[in-house]
Symmetry: C2
Subunit: 442 residues, 2 copies
């Protein structure tokens, strides 16, 4: 077996940085034995000296990454500071100094990946970013290598463990969104400011990166339709269950008539849908290729160790030389297929679940179904429960599911319905996602 050494610097020692450090220190000889690669940590760049650290790492601590990047023996930097501006500057400087880069920074790659990838190619170095999407699941490699014989037709994924945990808690513990979020924070699964996760933004960063790999698409990030969990109510999860659905925050990028549509939103999945069994903090990515059909990749999408697993596999692949070869050969931001349009979700069709809160007066259902039919929306099921005789209010919920309908028609219908006097509060609508057809009909 060939043996090779790679000298690395780790920049940033948060949860992931510490896990990478621990993994390399503990597994150095195992990794050497397994791959012939000897990973040597030469520098650890931290703003403030970490507490309770092993004495052996003291000599490796540096407070300036600029100095570190001048080391001619350094092969690769591992950027784990997060954020946009500083991280961009670190990676740019490293590339200009001829160093390879490994990063877990999805926000940076989603927003400014194009510049960095192009710069890296010019400087003949590569960027490893397996850790940026779905942590411990080797999905980036599957797209840039294992599925190369395929044109990808669609990706449907659960890419945010925090949101999936919250939804699992709501469904299994019958808790409100607020309580489930508190529980997630208590369990270390959600940040004290959880908005990057719960807004769907984090998942959007990841689907943007995966789409650029899968479709050779230059993603216009601002035109991704993003809807988070913040307004999800337990009652809709429960109503969905009765109808045979599971609510998940799904990220999707798939072919429609004239382009690709990208969105992140809570959707109902049928209970046989391949993503419906993915619970807690797990992630999963369904990929539909034109040749191999449906494949799915499941695992832990976040957390120190799973992310470190991805970071270290990138370091090893850089040392072996394979990542550079893929980087030079496979399309992503470099080869923008400008013929592909991003189609707004409103122009696409889904089935829908509607919950209408109405004052129960005669003719309400007639009026609602009339407005829907004006927009050519066909109703699949209606459920209006009898009110208890002792009920003090005249309000009730009507649950409607529709057949496939273009979302802009539905939005228009809801707008009209919500102006009716009998409407008590804004109508809730959630898309129902069927399993993507594995192969298009002939």
């Amino acid at each position: 077996m060939l043996k090779k050494q790679i000298n690395i610097a780790i920049v940033g020692l948060g949860t992931v940085g510490k896990a990478v450090l621990r993994l390399i220190m503990a597994q150095q000889s195992n990794i050497l034995n397994r791959s012939g690669i000897d990973i040597t940590i030469k520098h650890l760049c931290v703003r403030t000296s970490p507490q309770n650290m092993d004495a052996s790492i003291q000599p490796l601590l540096r407070d300036s990454y600029e100095e570190v990047l001048k080391d001619p023996n350094l092969d690769c930097i591992v950027e784990l500071v997060g954020g946009i501006d500083t991280a961009f500057h670190i990676i740019k400087t490293a590339i200009e100094q001829g160093k390879h880069v490994v990063t877990a920074n999805k926000a940076l790659l989603a927003l400014r990946g194009e510049e960095l990838f192009s710069l890296a190619r010019k400087n003949n170095v590569c960027i490893g970013f397996e850790a940026s999407c779905a942590g411990g699941i080797p999905i980036v490699r599957s797209l840039i290598d294992g599925l190369l014989a395929n044109s990808i037709r669609g990706i449907f994924a659960i890419l945010n463990g925090t949101c999936n945990y919250i939804l699992t808690q709501m469904a299994t513990q019958r808790s409100s969104y607020k309580h489930a979020l508190l529980r997630a924070q208590k369990d270390g699964v959600a940040e004290s400011d959880p908005s990057l996760d719960t807004s769907g933004m984090d998942a959007a960063h990841k689907i943007a990166i995966l789409s650029s790999l899968a479709f050779g698409l230059k993603v216009d990030f601002s035109s991704i339709f993003i809807k988070g969990l913040e307004n999800i109510e337990l009652v809709d999860i429960q109503n969905g269950e009765k109808l045979g659905y599971v609510l998940k925050l799904v990220s999707a990028a798939y072919e429609v008539d004239t382009g690709i549509t990208l969105w992140v939103r809570p959707v109902f999945l049928t209970q046989t849908h391949a993503l419906s069994w993915v619970h807690d903090t797990f992630n999963a990515i369904s990929v539909y290729g034109d040749i191999n059909g449906h494949t799915l990749y499941y695992g832990r999408g976040a957390g120190g160790n799973p992310t470190a697993s991805a970071v270290v596999s990138d370091i090893i692949s850089i040392a072996i030389g394979t990542l550079s070869a893929f980087f030079q050969h496979t399309r992503n931001w470099q080869d923008l297929n400008t013929r592909i349009d991003q189609i707004h979700v409103r122009k696409t069709a889904h089935r829908f679940y509607l919950r209408l809160s109405v004052f129960d007066t005669p003719g309400v259902l007639t009026r609602i179904t009339y407005i829907l039919s004006k927009q050519d929306i066909s109703i699949a099921s209606v459920l209006q429960k009898e009110k208890s005789e002792h009920s003090f209010t005249r309000s009730t919920n009507i649950i409607i599911t529709t057949h496939h309908t273009k979302e802009e028609s539905l939005v228009q219908a809801i707008k009209e319905i919500d102006q009716e006097d009998f409407i008590q509060r804004k109508t809730i609508s959630l898309a129902i996602l069927d399993e993507f057809p594995e192969f298009p009909p002939h």
Copy 2:
């Protein structure tokens, strides 16, 4: 993007060979656009000229692979003839002529992979074998690349689509094994002689290959415990369902106390088990790494197109140069970790399902439970249904599930039970598989 040409010869034009040919002819420019690799088919080696073939391929047809392998411009051969002896000779000759090899031949690699891999390394060429395990699922790449930072602790997989289809048919259509097999044959999912699949042998070839990658284990193929589907009865699938279990043919390789145990057998899975939702001809592989925990890979494990997808991704990776680099760097047959022992399944513990067919005489249950307790087997549940008053027979079924017990104890107990006069026919036993612990307890 770098551009490169690779000249290939396809040897064998069965289902997979034809699919590879079709894929390359149809997607040549897409693949070039995606990866910079121009795949050129220089030779098609067939024993008898295929019927209804495109006129354009006539000039490529050859009847002797020996002549083809002398072509100095040939880079890579794709061996798709199957079987052992001829395939071995083709691959050996190709390697000696300095050609890279891509093969889907699991039987050959499971039985004689070690010789071929060692020969390939000596001759500085590589063998691509993504297609040998689980067709369209890039599991070989995940093990040799994406999971490199991990020590693998266990693999649990559904690796035979034919068996999975038969079991899905039995469970959903309430059909006997015989009828489900006929249906599978009618649907083109089972061969006219299905024994390679239904005996578990095909799955054993695949788990042997995956184990050698995951554990660096030199697999003693003859010591893999292999049990097929042939004796499965519908009644046990139905009994299992009532207890909350799904029956699947599972291939496993995992750490036990002092080594690795390898087996292929029908087992009951709890309905929350990650493999329990895998139906029809789909395959799935659960991998448990010490760092990234549980990952799962799902997709089509057989069929022309999915297998061709794997073959072509290997051809592209050989042209890019990545497969050779991995081949030189990552351990498998080359780096035999002789310290790992293969532990016979009889020495390992499972929960078990037993169906005892007894003549219903007084004291039967006492005698059975006494024999089980002598072997230290603890009973988890017992179900003996009341017979109909109109029943003409005195025979009845007793369903017992056990707590974890070493299999050799159970085998001994059943042997003793089956000698009792009240036993009407041999006792059926099936292991019940719990989800593998994602991380070992601290």
